[in-house]
Amino acid sequence: MIDFEMPTPVSRQVQFIGMLGEQVMRPRARYYDDHEGERPVEYTSLIWQTVRAQGGRNFSADTSERLDRDGRPRPRIGYLMLAHMVEALSWGDAGMYLATPGAGLGGAAVDATGTPEQKERFLRRFGEGEPKWSAMAMTEPHAGSDTAAIRTRARLSDDGREWILDGEKIFVTSGAMAARDSAGFVVVWATLDPSAGRAAIKPFVVEAGTPGMLVTKLEHKHGIRASDTAAIIFQHCRIPRENLLGSEEISDGRSSGGKGFAGAMRTFDATRPLVAASAIGIARASLEFTITYLRQRGVTIRYDVPLHRQTAIERDLRQMEAQHRAAWLLVLRAVTAMDAGQDNALEASMSKVKAGQVATFIAQKAVELLGPEGYSCTLLLEKWMRDARINDIYEGTGQINRLIVARRLLGYSSRELR
């Protein structure tokens, strides 16, 4: 039955993270925006306690089966919960949220494709000791959306005991913290045979500090500056043969049990709504701030007056509110489908397209509405506008996601609609 009632655990979690955002993230948001490349320690130290206590799985959904008092399975809310957590953390500060220590994206790849032995070896560290990060390295200077065109090579050493990686990766989120500044690791996507296309592209785990893996550059970004974005070079980087995740066979995604390249693409069904949720968090921050700011200065928003009696500000704010809510509902639809175990690729990409666009629209409008104040660095609005912009770019640009939506709706393959 169609219902909009939020489960109590979710509302409680949102409230808790809201306090964290207000007390720990917001007060330091400007500082880390001004000091790009510094680790936001107030947040990372605090959140590490929680992440460590949960065995290091910072943003993986709880998909375990729980029973209610009558022994019936409860509806799963893992991804619903996750979307709300990401939204609420991004409301606090999107850059800091991205710098959350823990198993993260790289850990998710290990979790999804690793053997029990690999999981133990790579994931155990996130439940103990100092904060650690993992990262995912896919994009290369010449290959962004076109992931199948990556050139980083993986060759077996002569004695067959090691993989030797050569290539260059860019735009690695938390790359410096994962590869250099903590005892983490990087999951590197490389090809066993450039002539074999997607089938030969495999994920490899490279431990922090491995000789031959070099962080060459930290990007200077428009926004989300509390999160490091690294370029990493691999020069004859030797890693144990057991660090390949999944099968060594060059085969299509189907015969490798969905754990190869196609499997990696499918994880986007789970992560895209979360990027959308992050976008919505920034949008809500901008919207709430703007409305409160204007209300305190005597501006009212009326909802019952017709168009011709609305002020220009009212019209803008109403549009921002409606767009915000519409985008968030699309995100919720995508994650509830995920929780129900349904194919949600269409809904996931729809929510990403919409939220990526809406966050930017709202944040840009908020700066406009507050005029000289909105543009000033005394408020966070201008920062949120810069933070918001990434959401229409990473984890699939708005255009790539439109392509995915269109293929689904039209029943076209990637060959038929290019």
């Binding site: 039955m1 169609i2 219902d3 909009f4 009632e5 939020m6 489960p7 509806p75 619903l80 909802y303 019952d304 007056v305 017709p306 168009l307 011709h308 009696r309 109403r318 549009q319 509110e321 409606a322 767009q323 809510r325 519409a326 985008a327 509902l329 699309l330 919720l332 639809r333 509830t336 489908a337 729809m350 397209v353 919409k354 255009q399 439109r402 392509l403 939506v405 269109a406 293929r407 709706l409 039209l410 029943g411 076209y412 038929e416 609609l417 290019r418």
Partner: protein, 360 residues
């Protein structure tokens, strides 16, 4: 617990109304628009779906459950996907009956609601819109003054559907600063039904201007309940209907783009067309979710003024964008009346105006 899946009974309503809309409404839509009339038989057949009864609580003779507004929104989307003018014509009695059920007195319900629910289709109707550019439901120009145990009603209304043969109209008017609604028998002295109106769209639904020239009404003809929430119920109905119109246009344009070839392949294989369709689909879904949430709040008895207003505003803009693009995707054919998309564009533009013509 949050869910975007209709329940079994709601799905039954969707399936039933969808079949009716595609088999009975859509095939009539072109001629009904051209001839500016609705065949009487389709209203009779549509009445048998029992959609009005679905909107009226059981205690008052209907069969509505706790999700009446939501179910109404689902039904309106389906009707409008078939044809909005015919669909609203079919549900016209609801614009009279739902306000009585929500805000009427026992005597008013007994006099008007009971016979309507027990009988066949009857063109009872409502008069909210005033034919001025600056029409404002919160500051109506139609006014009623209390005088003893009577009211004196004066004003001019437009977009009054079936005013020519409705036995009674529900007339919205201002009493001092209050929004009020009165049951006005059409043959009351001082009621003048003027010429039939001509509009860009919605042509199968005959509407009239009606002048109230000092109409004396007994005090008991005023609905005793609060009237503002009825406007929220209409905004939700409009939003859901806009979603239906947009969906009809999107589905038509999609099918056309898959089959129409240019330069040796279907035009849908061009990103410029495919992306338009993707955005249309996303916006339709977004507007639908807003409409559902507002309806859900109405059913829960939660404040819904803001949500209904935002859903309606969003849907107004969405349906114009979607139908306009449908015309563009069909190119020259989109501009020809033989194809339905130009009609959908004509109807879409009216949604910011249509307040009061449908209700959940």
């Amino acid at each position: 617990m949050i869910s975007f899946t209709p329940g079994d009974e709601q799905q039954l309503v969707i399936d039933t109304v969808r079949r009716f809309a595609s088999e009975q409404l859509r095939p009539l839509a072109h001629d009904a628009d051209e001839q500016r009339s609705t065949p009487a038989e389709v209203l009779t057949r549509g009445w048998e779906l029992g959609l009005l009864h679905n909107a009226i609580p059981e205690a008052l003779g209907g069969i509505a459950d706790a999700q009446a507004a939501l179910t109404g929104a689902l039904a309106l989307e389906e009707l409008a996907a078939g044809d909005v003018a015919l669909g609203w014509h079919l549900l016209l009695p609801a614009t009279f009956a739902v306000p009585l059920a929500r805000a009427g007195s026992d005597a008013q319900r007994e006099r008007w609601l009971t016979p309507l629910l027990e009988g066949g289709y009857a063109p009872l109707s409502a008069a909210l819109i005033e034919p001025t550019w600056d029409f404002d439901p919160t500051a109506l120009q139609t006014v009623a003054f209390a005088d003893g145990d009577e009211y004196l009603l004066t004003g001019l209304k437009g977009y009054v559907a079936r005013a020519n043969d409705a036995a009674a109209l529900l007339v919205y008017a201002r009493v001092g600063d209050e929004l009020a609604a009165f049951i006005v028998p059409r043959d009351s002295a001082g009621v003048a039904v003027l010429d039939r109106e001509q509009h860009m769209g919605l042509r199968a639904l005959p509407t009239y201007q009606v002048r109230f020239d000092g109409v004396w009404l007994p005090a008991a003809s005023r609905l005793p309940g609060t009237i503002e929430p009825l406007l929220d119920r209409s905004r939700v109905a409009l939003a859901a209907s806009a979603v239906g119109v947009a969906r009809g246009a999107y589905e038509y344009a999609r099918a056309y783009a898959l089959q129409r070839e240019a330069f040796g392949r279907p035009i849908a294989q061009n990103q410029s067309i495919a992306f338009m369709l993707a955005e249309m689909a996303i916006e339709i879904d977004a507007a639908r979710l807003l409409a559902w949430e507002a309806a859900w709040r109405l059913d829960r008895g939660l404040p819904a003024m803001r949500e209904a207003a935002l859903a309606a505003q969003y849907a107004d803009e969405m349906v114009l964008m979607v139908t306009d693009r449908a015309v563009q995707i069909l190119g020259g054919h989109g501009y020809i009346r033989e194809y339905p998309v130009e009609r959908w564009l004509r109807e879409a533009r009216g949604f910011p105006t249509f307040l009061g013509l449908a209700i959940v």
